[in-house]
């Protein structure tokens, strides 16, 4: 299942790339992409989305603390 989320305050392109790599590495995520230009996160997963989102938020807090995921 593909889901799209809006990211806020994603400031640098390199951070977006780092974020993408880190989110892809989360267990249960089949594929993910962060689009710096549209500030959108695409997640493909069959796992429980709430758990996955909590994990993603942790990763974001670690890599780019200014950035926020809009649920």
């Amino acid at each position: 299942m593909k889901k799209f989320y809006q990211l806020e305050n994603l400031d640098c392109a390199n951070c977006a790339a780092k974020l993408e790599t880190a989110i892809k590495a989360i267990e249960g995520i089949e594929n993910a992409s962060v689009n710096f230009m549209t500030q959108r996160l695409m997640v493909e997963t069959s796992a429980d989305i709430e758990k996955i989102l909590a994990e993603i938020e942790k990763v974001i807090a670690k890599i780019e603390p200014d950035c926020e995921l809009v649920r």
Partner: protein, 617 residues
């Protein structure tokens, strides 16, 4: 400009003034204080970010490297250079943010199709609500100058609609009661009442917005390459910098740490892959945006990239190269006048709603006298028999003639032929043909000019009809008489005959050809606006029904890819050059800073060009 960006600009301006003032002939201490103040203004936020990231276990980040470079410069007593590094780094960052914001905004003007409200009739009065709150079957009112918020059917009123935001088509479309309208169009002159047929989330405008907003999630190979490159580039440069600083002084007798340390600092300054990481997605983002402005929706950067390698273009005939609606092309009577033959045929087909029957009735043009029609019988797969004016008559295909034992069948007619029999004798035939789209021939010659090697037409229609259309349009190859499964098989064969890098593009109307759309390298749905299935299945959606937009799409894609490649070669080239010069001791920190920021700025300016490509469509 956002508040954040404004603050950023002021920081740069103040630090810049202090930096410039420090060159005035002032006491050394005053100059140093000015530099220190400038450093604090532009440098401190970066140092703080670097420290924060180190706490989180991320060492190789550009903030840290900039911090390290400036500490090194201070250690060597090069205070002005330390400030310059920070100042110009910030200028580069500012410029990036500015350019990104600008192009985001230029795309969001495209997003202006989003309707803010709907005026809906409830309890006998008009209420203004958000479009999401309107249910299917409710009646909404749209006044001149307003956007149509939901898809529906006009129940009252007539007007002209501006569809430019959706289709790139400048000519307004006239609508009246009974016509279907799609959301996102702007009502130009009359008040319309519309009965909604879809909820907002299923409406055309919501679908298109979703598609454009999510387009970037499918990345191109170039973008993926850059991401991989960036992951290796920074650590590699830093490690080389460390060796550069410490190895020569340890190994060579007269090498100085201050000299080689300085060279290492130039390395650190250009260790950020920023220019590349930002300019490549920016180019593709601009290209996709430009295409949208021409009424071409591309679902991902990967498809935009693939379009530039189009080698084979496969067309579906009906609805793509032709209009998909039949019209009488020729009447060949035998033993009666053409008008009588048409009248006869129209009355035989009086009760049929087949597209061919409709076209004959339309060509007859007069009101049918149903009292003259009796004993209508449909013969499955051959035609219709009836009694017209008390005379037994029939209309149908060649099999019908055989049934009546008539042998003289006119051969080699391109088109669908309806044979008419009256009183058991051959009375002539009517040729019905699908009309070719106006710009179809131009589209094919434009594709050939762009270097497309092979154009193919697939159709379920008869070979004679297909070949005639192909000849008129200049299509290289025809596969006729195909069932839907046969189209997939034909496509598979064509896919196998391509060169490794070439891409196969299939264009259909999105109806019945979803499997073929999915199988092709790039599936293009044409005139797909309003058809959910087409928007789902295709990789590229052409919102108008002009096949010539394909050539525009390929042109935009080629230019976008060229811009992206220019940026890669230019940015990597300049960086390697400065790295080499820096290692050899020929490039100062100044040169490195200017190279780094300069490359960023130029690459971004180049990338922004992609946004303006829609002028080429």
């Amino acid at each position: 400009m956002t508040k954040k960006l404004k603050k950023h600009l002021w920081q740069i301006i103040i630090a810049g003034i202090l930096f410039a003032a420090s060159w005035l002939p002032l006491p050394r201490l005053v100059g140093l204080l000015m530099l220190a103040a400038a450093y604090l203004i532009v440098g401190l936020p970066i140092i703080i970010k670097a420290l924060r990231n180190i706490c989180r276990g991320q060492i190789f980040d550009e903030n840290f490297l900039m911090g390290l470079a400036t500490f090194g410069a201070c250690f060597l007593g090069e205070y002005a250079e330390a400030v310059a590094v920070m100042l110009f780094f910030q200028v580069g960052e500012f410029f990036q943010q500015y350019a990104v914001n600008r192009s985001r905004r230029s795309i969001s003007t495209l997003m202006d199709i989003r309707p803010d409200s709907a005026r809906v009739s409830r309890n006998g009065e008009w209420q203004v609500v958000s479009p999401e709150e309107v249910a299917i079957g409710e009646v909404i009112e749209v006044r001149p100058g307003e956007k149509i918020p939901l898809d529906g059917v006009v129940t009252q009123g007539a007007s002209a609609l501006n569809t430019a935001a959706l289709t790139g088509e400048a000519l307004p479309r006239d609508v009246a009661a009974g016509d279907e309208v799609i959301s996102g169009c702007v009502n130009l002159d009359g008040v319309l009442q519309i009965k909604t047929t879809k909820e907002f989330t299923d409406s055309t405008v919501a679908k298109i917005l979703e598609l454009v907003e999510n387009a970037g999630s499918q990345k191109s190979a170039v973008e993926n390459f850059i991401t991989r490159f960036a992951r290796w580039y920074t650590p590699t440069v830093v490690i080389v910098a460390v060796f550069l600083a410490f190895l020569p002084p340890l190994l060579l007798p007269d090498a100085l740490l201050s000299d080689w340390g300085y060279r290492a600092i130039t390395f650190l300054v250009i260790s950020c892959p920023c220019a590349l990481v930002i300019s490549i997605p920016l180019s593709f983002f601009g290209g996709i945006g430009a295409a949208s402005k021409c009424g071409i929706l591309v679902k991902g950067s990967n498809y935009l990239e693939a379009l530039s390698h189009t080698e084979t273009v496969v067309f579906d005939k009906t609805g793509t190269l032709t209009k998909g609606c039949f019209a009488v092309a020729e009447v060949r009577p035998q033993g009666m006048s053409a008008a009588r033959l048409l009248r006869l045929a129209a009355h035989i087909e009086a009760y049929s709603h087949h597209p061919i029957a409709e076209s004959i009735k339309q060509a007859y043009g007069k009101k049918l006298d149903l009292t003259k029609v009796a004993k209508v019988k449909e013969l499955f797969g051959t035609g219709i028999t009836a009694e017209i004016d008390g005379v037994a008559a029939a209309a149908g295909n060649a099999a019908l003639l055989q049934k009546f034992g008539i042998k003289q069948v006119p051969a080699d007619i391109a088109g669908t032929v309806i044979y008419v029999v009256a009183d058991k004798k051959y009375a002539g035939c009517i040729i019905v043909a699908d009309e070719v789209r106006k710009d179809a021939a131009a589209a094919i010659s434009a594709l050939k000019d762009l270097g497309v090697r092979r154009t193919v037409m697939l159709t379920g229609d008869r070979a004679a009809v297909a070949e005639d259309v192909a000849r008129r349009l200049g299509v290289d190859e025809v596969h006729a008489g195909l069932l839907p499964a046969g189209k997939v098989a034909a496509l598979e064969q064509l896919l196998g005959e391509q060169s490794p890098a070439g891409k196969l593009l299939f264009v259909g109307d999105g109806i019945n050809d979803a499997p073929v759309l999915a199988r092709a390298d790039i599936g293009v749905a044409m005139g797909g606006i309003g058809s959910d299935a087409a928007i789902e299945a295709a990789d590229v959606v052409i919102m108008t029904d002009e096949p010539s937009r394909l050539a525009s799409a390929i042109r935009i894609s080629r230019r976008t890819v060229r811009i992206a490649n220019q940026n890669i070669v230019f940015a990597i080239g300049v960086k390697l050059l400065v790295l080499g010069l820096g290692a050899a001791g020929f490039a100062s920190v100044w040169a490195a800073v200017f190279a780094d920021v300069g490359v960023s700025v130029l690459a971004i300016l180049n990338a922004v060009r992609a946004l303006r490509l829609h002028k080429k469509c």
